[in-house]
Amino acid sequence: AFGIRRAYPTPIVKPLWPYAVGGVITFFLFAKAANASMNTEEFINDPRNPRFKAGGVKEEH
């Protein structure tokens, strides 16, 4: 299927390493934005918020 026969020695890391670096940077920026968003009024008391697993208590606004 798909004409898979044998592996070709296509260079992967050499041409694509900037994309990998960009992916890592994007991942950490997303994590930062997600953490900031979790602490907003809309999600701070959401039962899925992981701070409750660490023993967090409901916050009043």
Binding site: T10, F30, F43, D46
Partner: protein, 48 residues
């Protein structure tokens, strides 16, 4: 929709990038070179 809930953002982007990496690897190593070989072979076929 879990896509819009921030608790799942890091999971989504992690597995999204992981899936893309696997697809790029498989296509670059196995699938696309096979078609390149077919096209090159056709170019160099000559009638006698």
């Amino acid at each position: 929709m879990p896509q819009l809930v921030p608790f799942y953002f890091t999971n989504q982007i992690f597995y999204g990038f992981a899936s893309l990496s696997v697809i790029v690897y498989l296509f670059s190593i196995y699938i696309l070179p096979h078609y390149l070989e077919i096209y090159v072979t056709r170019i160099f076929i000559t009638k006698t």
